[in-house]
Symmetry: none
Subunit: 232 residues, 2 copies
DNA sequence: TGCCACTGTCACATCGTTGTAACATTGCAC
DNA sequence: GTGCAATGTTACAACGATGTGACAGTGGCA
């Protein structure tokens, strides 16, 4: 699953565009499914469980946005990353698209290179599929299903960013990450945020974890941070 | 390498613009090279091997796109990230630019802040981290991934410089290095520090390693130091 | 509309690290 | 052994990196 090319479902009513995208993705090592309509897309999703969806804005019948919203509402597909495609000049749609739950947004026309890059970024960010097990480290527990964190059974109140940060750390223990890497992994590749912002969120996270567990997040001077149970 | 300011080549035929960009980047800690033409750019690339290129769309002679394409075709420069600059209203160029291999695309006028942010993001993405294996020598272990050193499984507290020094030694065992060579390799070529500074850091490193492993760092009188498992 | 949670950024405080000098010790040549 | 140069050791001030609190902007929600 990690090694094998991920399955990407391409939903667009124009065959040539689908084809072009498919070729580009296959060259990059992805496996492609194509759908011209929402109905077709739906059956592909049920049958083949793609790892992500490339969704055109304009579709006959149900619009792309509506479909995206539907996918996000359904438990079965809520975790599936979506990239929306839209024609030039409809930049305004961006907001709607992202609000509907899309993970990224590309304006047509786009280069294959850009497409693959964004797709990679989105997939990288996407949480591993399947049943997500709670992670527990010496009394600190993060439950992805309930989206909840407890420290020695006491609930920990943290914002979304701190949650993602903690989740990343708990799924990548012991390893040191630079601020830049954390921005990539936790914030997403294409945002422009100061590196110092990471420090602030680290601080917030530590504070929320309290004395019981703040030591798990270690500063690696001159490099970044690390989540580790071993003393530094 | 990571720490040192990256070298950025600015290619634009208008001197004031180049200058403005250069000032912004230098304030952000980057080293700038400027070129007014493709020819000039080319020789800069050959001579100074910049880490990335800021390329104006409009250039006398060979166009920016053409130059970008050329860079991507050449093995030597294929990996070099490119950000294209273009005047407002030429949005259509975006596709061509990205297809030519540009990694990002900025529309003039832009804020220095945006420029630096994007540049950072592109550089971040372009620097892949290799899979680095831990190195172990008779109970002394250095793990580059975790950025951690242990002596017989007990953590060793050292600063960044001592860490780099130890890493260098462990990847270059048995060989004697002069203070000058160590400054070159560990501190980086273009810094001026007293050679005696090396002695101090050697001392700090030995102290941190403790009796168990300090003997691995041997003094080569009249020459420098050596990391060796054999007794001197 | 106003409230509230969250985010990103800044300014300032704090702490670790760094390079250097000054002095102590060692080893070698004579 | 003596003298000298090389190296070990320590202390310290300057600097840079990180911690910390405050703030304004944003968007959701009642």
């Amino acid at each position: 699953m990690t090694k094998a090319g991920k399955r990407v479902l391409i939903v667009d009513d124009e065959a040539p565009i689908r084809e072009m995208i498919a070729v580009a993705l296959e060259m990059a090592g992805y496996e492609c499914l194509e759908a011209a309509s929402v109905q077709e897309a739906h059956s592909h999703i049920v049958d083949h469980k793609p790892d992500m969806v490339l969704l055109d804005w304009m579709l006959p019948g149900t619009s792309g946005v509506e479909f995206a919203r539907r996918l996000k509402r359904d438990d079965m597909t809520a975790e599936m990353p979506i990239i929306m495609l839209t024609a030039k000049g409809e930049e305004d749609n961006k907001v709607q698209g992202l609000e509907a739950g899309a993970d990224d947004y590309i304006t047509k026309p786009f280069s294959p290179r850009e497409l693959v890059a964004r797709l990679k970024a989105v997939l990288r960010r996407a949480t591993p599929q399947g049943v997500e097990e709670p992670i527990e480290v010496s009394g600190l527990m993060l439950d992805p299903v309930c989206h909840r964190v407890t420290s020695n059974s006491k609930p920990v109140e943290i914002g979304p960013t701190e949650y993602r940060l903690l989740q990343f750390f708990m799924t990548h223990q012991e390893r040191a990450y630079s601020r830049a890497q954390l921005l990539d992994q936790v914030w997403g590749g294409n945002v422009y945020v100061e590196e110092r912002t990471v420090d602030v969120h680290i601080r917030r996270l530590r504070k929320a974890l309290g004395k019981a567990h703040e030591h798990l997040i270690q500063t690696v001077r001159g490099t970044g941070y690390r989540f580790s149970t071993k003393a530094s």
